[in-house]
Amino acid sequence: MFSETPLSIDARGWGWRHAGRAGWALRGLDLRIEPGERVLLLGASGAGKSTLVHALAGVLGGEEEGESEGRLFVDDTDAARARGRVGLVLQDPDSQVVLARVGDDVAFGCENMGVSRDEIWSRVEQSLRAVGLDVPLAHPTSALSGGQKQRLALAGVLAMRPGLLLLDEPTANLDPHGVIEVRDAVARVVEQSGSTLVVVEHRVDVWWPTVDRVVVLAPGGGVLADGTPDEVLRREGANLAASGVWVPGHPPKHPARLRRPGGTLLHTEALAVGRSTALQSDIDIVARAGECMALTGPNGVGKTTLGLTLGGLLPAIDGRLVAGALRRGLGTDPLRWKSRELVTRIGSVFQDPEHQFVSGTVAGELAVGARAIGLSEHETARRVDPLLERLRLGHLAAANPFTLSGGEKRRLSVATVLVTRPPLLVLDEPTFGQDSRTWAELVAFLAELLDEGSSLIAVTHDVHLVDALADAELRMWQADHALESRVP
């Protein structure tokens, strides 16, 4: 069916430096991947995985975008000219949909390759079937879930009959169900087409059964480890885990917890949340000092909306949100508090950190909250500096927040709310994009805050986080939920 010849990859002393950066993203890479191999590409954050994948897809740009050295071949042509024979699926489901209807979107790549009309539509049908996306061709793409959008992107790439399939963290933004959905679609597709596969992904355990080779890039350049998954795991497992790679069988350490619940900071009475209609109703939960509650469940059931409502940002649809010890002289409804009163009581970290950035530098970003509540320069520095060090952002103090990596942005957004020392933290996916080392550090830090008497509410898909910190879990599904205690 998808009978394009699988392509090889050949890198010889290859390197790339982004325009305007002092250091090389990747340098001195020698790597040969044979046609039909299925490779998982690993490396700590900043090792240049994404750069390599973009280069292989020919979308790294020309000389104005950066400088290259050495050679990078796909089959026997320069990778920069291999566009069209190579398919690329990226991380963000929303920014890969091109057209408004499912069928048209899948056809888009074929049109660009000049495929004839009859052939296009037969490929569209085949590709949608291969990824298991069973919707009408005229179905609006805006009505798809995250997992469906990623499978749509995969179908669009597949219709171009690529000999090399590149996936750059294709499941990073998905809930656990969506992750499996996409992983299975990819496995089925490479099984049928036999094309070469290169996957970059933090969630190693998900892809472990699908790949037959693991390549680990060394930060700064070169290859750290290379072999079959079992070999690499046996020989390098412990080292890799120590350098920040998520490795099966080497979970990061969970911090010890004191678990001394204190007074009630906030509670809800038959709370109903939603944007215009209720997504969840009759929620009765309590946030206590020293306790962590996890809000879990598939995308779209109202986890984030509940988080925003608890954070005093969205009005409740019904029921009440009642501040207890938290209010310190204000009314009981956090929604009525002034913005600068809110930040010393509840700290909210949003799902997308970019929404929260308001300053040109990392240091400036951290000072925003301090200035809002009128802290002195001296006091601001006293609070900001340890946070920068603790969250490994010290070397980035002068950098623009938008230029940070996904994991760094996440840590910065957590740091920004801590400056004003709110006793209640509402965090939406706090561990998103962290490698295993920064994950462990962040979780240890949150555990410390809990032990010092903070209360934590975390919206998350991360089962490790729930295991490590949660004292209670509010499991949510479509229009319903159940509260479970997780204290042993």
Binding site: L90, A100, D104, N112, S142, A143, S339, H355, V358, V368
Partner: protein, 264 residues
């Protein structure tokens, strides 16, 4: 109206949904250009009368018609009202109050303005609520031969507009969560607008990468999955628009009401 409605308008089976968007664009342009040259109540009302008959075939129910054309109607009433009160005075004065001077001349101009805005605006709205942007892009590129890079780039960008509203709401909440939502509504608005701009540029460049990765902008001649045909039905619509335009102009000229360019 939500962005989803703009991108995938309700499809129907009536003829109007099958007419090429380029023909609709041409028809609206012909009527608009013909009427823009004269501000008189005769040409506008003849055009409006003809259009009124045609609207019956447009496939919009009366409710949807009123709802979708409401902005044009409001604009027409405002424009007419302003001219009635402050328009160039001529003829007998009916009512004076400070700067307000309602005269026979301003009444006539005001009626002509009302009719003209409606005669130009209504067909444009009616034709375009049934246009699917994807079909319009196909038509522009295949029928009018506009550069496909430009047309498809714009179409891809249009999809991002739908995400603006969500981004804006999130930015607003995020500013409250950061402690900077208490002061200076105007300054906050400006800051937030700038943040939205930054976010949309970033989204746009991600989309551009995704499009490039799928071979967009390569040197291979593009094929089209959906053929955009311009057939008898489409010529018919353009012919009708010429008919309406010439009926309006000739009636106005024959009755001596035609005044070239806004009664100059």
């Amino acid at each position: 109206m939500r962005a989803d409605d703009i991108l995938t308008p309700t499809a129907g089976t009536r003829t109007i949904y099958r007419i090429n968007p380029v023909a609709k664009l041409a028809a609206a342009a012909v009527i608009g250009i013909a009427l823009v040259f004269s501000l008189d109540w005769v040409s506008a009302s003849v055009a409006l009368a003809c259009e009124g008959v045609l609207f019956l075939f447009a496939g919009l129910g009366p409710r949807r018609f009123v709802r979708r054309t409401l902005p044009v109607t409001i604009a027409a009433v405002f424009a007419a009202g302003t001219i009635l009160l402050y328009g160039r005075a001529s003829g007998a004065s009916r009512w004076r109050f400070l700067l307000v001077n309602v005269t026979d001349g301003s009444i006539e101009l005001s009626v002509a303005t009302l009719l003209k805005v409606l005669a130009i605006g209504l067909p444009a709205v009616v034709l375009f609520v049934t246009v699917d942007p994807t079909d319009l892009a196909d038509g522009l590129a295949q029928v009018l031969r506009l550069p496909s890079r430009f047309v498809l780039g714009a179409l891809g960008g249009l999809r991002l507009v739908g995400l603006f509203a969500d981004d804006w709401k999130s930015l607003e909440l995020a500013r409250r969560a950061r402690g900077i939502a208490d002061s200076g509504r105007l300054r906050r608005f400006a800051g937030q607008a700038f943040a939205l701009l930054v976010l949309s540029i970033r989204r746009g460049s991600k989309l551009a990468t995704a499009m490039e990765a799928r071979g967009f902008g390569s040197s291979i001649p593009r094929s089209w999955a959906r053929e955009s045909r311009f057939g008898a039905r489409d010529w018919m619509l353009v012919a009708i628009s010429f008919g309406v335009a010439s009926a309006a102009i000739s009636t106005s000229v024959l009755t001596g009401n035609w005044n070239f360019l806004a009664g100059a």
